[in-house]
């Protein structure tokens, strides 16, 4: 259905794609053609097309073609290093048959309009670093390019007097059968006058892809290597005060005494402000812990002022907590007969199966609390005027940043502008916006624009951590060594506590009901036990697969060992024949694709030598949201030193948009997971975090990490693309621990691995 409205001589019409989404065309005078998707959020009332706006930035993920042939594409999802600012625009550009060398990508801030006092999210979903950008983009972004291409083709057909279906597009031009070539730029004006079709033109067939599936470097690469890339923490704002702060060691503590006279004596210091969490606000939307901020004319003055503060904090009730005692509680719960907080899955009857067992095995795995340790610390620039808030923020979810600003300022939906420059690492930390609340409060308290800069110490001491966990796994085997039953009992502190999530859903951040070997074992039971802790928790990269894959894939290796079987064979028997296995919520596990990645890494690392290798070989596989991953790792011990000789990773993510970007994500996630497994743990005692900087929380050095990660990408063009930002995390640690077991005969059931290995050796 086509509708048309005219505003001030501008063309503004579109094709309704669904009740709340329009494919929209804008032609702002001569020489510019724009196509985009205007979306209304599912929570909004449907809006008439005429309200969709008629300016450049009213279009969300858009393409703009100028009369000189240059193409501008808006990137709607925050770029945290996962490559979406490159891959999403390439999806549009391919559909348009654009010349990539003439495409410029601009990051879009939050798209929000005022819909009778309520926000309308004009760009649709905007979220980064959660593995969902590509699947969502595949569903809608291609239509943007397809419509723009269709309009250009119609314009060319008119000019050439040839039917449009005889023409083709290639690299920024329409080409006639006789070889005549019309640059897109020359067609823009005519194309902007073409009447729209009734239905959206279908995306092109895969055999015509020009960019999808071909490697492309990061669109920001040149700006990054020349030091010109402006992150939020690089933004200079003439009259803004720089704010640095110090939080109370206990989230529920209070400020007992503050003497800021020395601080105020520091040249350049303007003000000292106290901050407090707002009672009743969920985690991640208000100040994380009481804090004292120093506002100054520049960072050096602010930091000197901060170090001159004389203050004492009074602990809250959380000062009795320690990570060690929480782990003891968890262990006690798991061996008790207490009912679980949630029965996550219960197939068959594992108790009955257990009675028929020829063999029963059990093992318990321990995993530490983790921090996010983003490279760029938390920061935010806020400028408040009477009827406007301008915010520059490194966020993975601009909409949630908006909500915090709106609540604290009471401004209308469209009076808040959220800009999101490239983000210096997310990993889930920037799905929370405590630092945005702080910056707004400081701007309100000082009456000046504020640049809030956290230090790395504040980042590590005041995070929404990933909880530590204890996993007690049990296997029931029959005489033929088939797995009859599987029990998983896990205890952790949910990342969803204090976030408005009902108690019966708190398990969903901690364990996946469909994780291996669910649906492959006839009798399977998964129970989750809640731990209570005042230490804040939140989303973390790879959650909940990271901790569970370590436990499950280590345990399968232990089962293999106990049966004196090759762990690859144990895996192959568990997965069975290639087939579709039904999972929860209508999704399926394709065991053939999982077998394939497993066999690929096994072949590459020459697994057939596993028993006789001087070094240790380990293997692991996993599936995440319809994507499949396996790692094979080879290690050697040189005295007390663990050498990771080889790392092979195979992934099947369905259709690959950008193999170069994917390889980087897979290698990067592998190294992140190895670094985490080898070294990292957050501990607390008396309610206080004990790691304050990267010396205490030592990300792996270049020397500790493997020299290369051999990445195998499975061509799977028959399957729509899935996200890959954390896919390669879960299997790295168990493959490593399994390899260490072969090399040393030491089974590491507790992470971080190096500390435990040296203890056990």
């Amino acid at each position: 259905m086509s509708e048309r409205t005219t505003n001030d001589g501008l063309r503004n019409d579109g094709i309704r794609l669904s009740r709340r989404r329009f494919l929209q065309v804008l032609a702002a005078g001569a020489g510019v053609l724009m196509v985009g998707i205007s979306a209304a959020d599912a929570a909004d009332a449907p809006v008439p097309l005429g309200l969709l706006g008629n300016t450049f930035y009213d279009l969300g993920a858009f393409v703009r073609i100028d009369s000189d042939g240059n193409v501008l594409i808006g990137a709607r999802d925050p770029e945290t290093g996962t490559g979406v600012a490159t891959s999403l625009p390439r999806i549009i550009a391919d559909e348009l048959d654009a010349d990539w060398s003439r495409v410029r990508v601009v990051p879009l801030g939050l798209g929000v309009a005022d819909n009778n006092g309520q926000p309308r999210w004009t760009y649709g979903r905007q979220i980064g670093g959660t593995g969902s950008s590509i699947p969502a983009a595949w569903a809608d972004l291609r239509q943007v390019g397809a419509l723009a291409r269709w309009l250009l083709l119609q314009a060319a057909a008119q000019r050439l007097g040839a039917p449009a279906n005889r023409l083709r597009c290639e690299s920024g031009a329409v080409i006639a059968p006789d070889g005549r070539r019309l640059d897109f730029g020359s067609l823009v004006e005519d194309a902007s006058k073409i009447a729209l079709p009734n239905n959206a033109p279908p995306p092109k067939s895969a055999d015509h892809f020009q960019l999808i599936g071909k490697p492309a470097g990061d669109v920001d690469a040149r700006a990054i290597v020349t030091g010109q890339m402006q992150f939020a923490s690089d933004q200079q704002s003439g009259d803004a005060l720089v704010a640095v702060l110090m939080h109370c060691p206990w989230p529920d503590g209070t400020l007992e005494h503050l003497d800021s006279s020395d601080t105020m004596a520091v040249k350049g210091v303007v003000k000292v402000v106290q901050l407090k969490p707002e009672p009743g606000q969920p985690w991640g939307s208000t100040v994380i812990a009481p804090a004292v901020a120093v506002l100054a004319e520049d960072p050096w003055a602010a930091l000197q002022g901060l170090h001159s503060l004389k203050l004492t904090w009074k602990p809250g009730a959380s000062n009795s907590e320690s990570s060690a005692s929480l782990e003891q509680q968890a262990s006690a719960l798991l061996i008790s007969t207490t009912d679980p907080s949630a029965r996550v899955r219960n197939d068959g009857d594992v108790d009955v199966a257990s009675k028929k067992a020829a063999r029963r095995l059990q093992a318990t795995y321990f995993q530490p609390w983790l921090a996010h340790a983003t490279a760029e610390p938390m920061n935010c620039v806020v400028r408040l005027d009477k009827d406007k808030a301008s915010v520059v923020v490194p966020t993975q979810s601009p909409r949630d940043a908006w909500a915090v600003v709106q609540r604290l300022t009471g401004l209308g939906p469209a009076q808040i502008e959220i800009s999101v420059p490239r983000v210096g690492g997310g990993y889930g930390r920037r799905l929370d916006h405590d630092y945005v609340a702080e910056a707004v409060m400081l701007a309100q308290a000082s009456g000046k624009p504020v640049r809030l800069l956290w230090t790395n110490e504040q980042d590590l001491d005041h995070d929404y951590y990933r909880s530590g966990s204890v996993h007690q796994l049990g296997a029931v085997l029959d005489r033929k060594r088939q797995l009859l039953g599987w029990t998983q009992r896990m205890a952790s502190a949910s990342a969803l506590t204090h976030r408005g999530v009902p108690d019966n859903r708190l398990w969903t951040s901690e364990v996946d009901a469909d994780q291996l070997p669910a649906a492959l074992v006839p009798n399977y039971r998964s129970d989750w036990y809640a731990l209570n802790s005042a230490i804040p928790r939140g989303p973390a990269r790879g959650m909940p697969h990271l901790s569970n894959a370590f436990a499950v894939e280590s345990f399968i290796d232990e089962i293999a060992h106990s049966m004196k079987e090759d762990p690859l064979d144990t895996h192959l028997r568990l997965l069975g024949d290639p087939r579709q296995v039904a999972l929860s919520a209508g999704s399926t596990l394709d065991t053939g694709r999982l077998l394939n990645v497993l066999k690929l890494v096994a072949d590459r690392i020459e697994w057939k030598n596993w028993l006789h290798s001087v070094n240790g070989l380990g293997i692991a596989c996993w599936h995440v949201n319809g994507a499949y991953v396996a790692h094979a790792i080879e290690v050697a011990m040189q005295g007390q030193k663990l050498i990771i000789q080889r790392v092979v990773c195979a992934v099947d993510v369905g259709r690959v948009i950008n193999p170069m970007g994917l390889e980087g994500q897979v290698a990067g996630a592998t190294l992140d997971a190895l670094s985490t497994a080898l070294n990292l743990a957050i501990t607390f005692n008396d309610g206080q975090i004990q790691q304050h900087n990267l010396k205490d929380y030592p990300l792996a050095s270049m020397a500790q990490l493997p020299d290369a990660v051999e990445v195998i990408i499975v061509p799977a063009d028959d399957v729509p693309p899935t996200g890959a930002s954390f896919l390669a995390m879960p299997t790295a640690a168990p493959a490593l621990a399994n390899a260490v077991f072969r090399a040393t005969a030491v089974r590491v059931r507790r992470l971080p691995l190096m500390k435990e290995l040296l203890r056990l050796l």
Binding site: T80, G81, V106, P107, G217, D218, D220, A221, R222, A223, I224, V225, T226, G227, Q228, M229, Q230, F231, S233, D234, Q235, Q236, K267, D298, P299, W300, A373, T374, A375, E376, P377, S419, P421, R422, G424, G425, G426, T455, N456, E457, G661, G664, A667, G668, T670, L671, D672, N693, L694, K695, L699, A700, S701, M702, A703, L705, P706, D707, A708, V709
Partner: protein, 178 residues
Amino acid sequence: MAPVQVQAVPVTPDSTIVPEKVREGIALEINGENYRHTGDPQMPLLWYLRDVLRLTGTKYGGAHGENGADLVLVNDKTVSAISVPMAKLADKQVTTVEGLAANDGTLHPVQQAFIDEDAIGCGYCTPGWLIAAVDLLKRKKQPSDDDIDQLPNLCRCGCQTRVRRAIKRVAAGKAGQP
């Protein structure tokens, strides 16, 4: 968002005064230009670069530069910019990531190789890796894996294996080639 380029104003030595008048502050050279710092001599170089000169390529990398994002070259040695006060930089030559490319915009081979290998995660710590790699390749034309292992930088995005390839690409003279 378009990169904001702010030109700092170089202080040109005044050659018309003989003998040269004693001038306040700390004179130093940054990316081939002369500067004079007249503020607090204890101010770390990092804040002078980022906040006074607005050369923001060098990043904050922890109170002691733990992740290496604040590495710069001072007289051809890698230094954590937050760990060195301006007082120690009189008459020194500083090179930041902004100073690696030639004046005509031609990239340094190390910069080009980082692009070739897409040796970039989020990109925040990349300037520090570039400085460390430039320093390494200056000292050793053909660095071994063990030499590369000595780089002090940390990166959670996991760019290390791609950085290693980029360094080897430069050593092989293949920066900018397919």
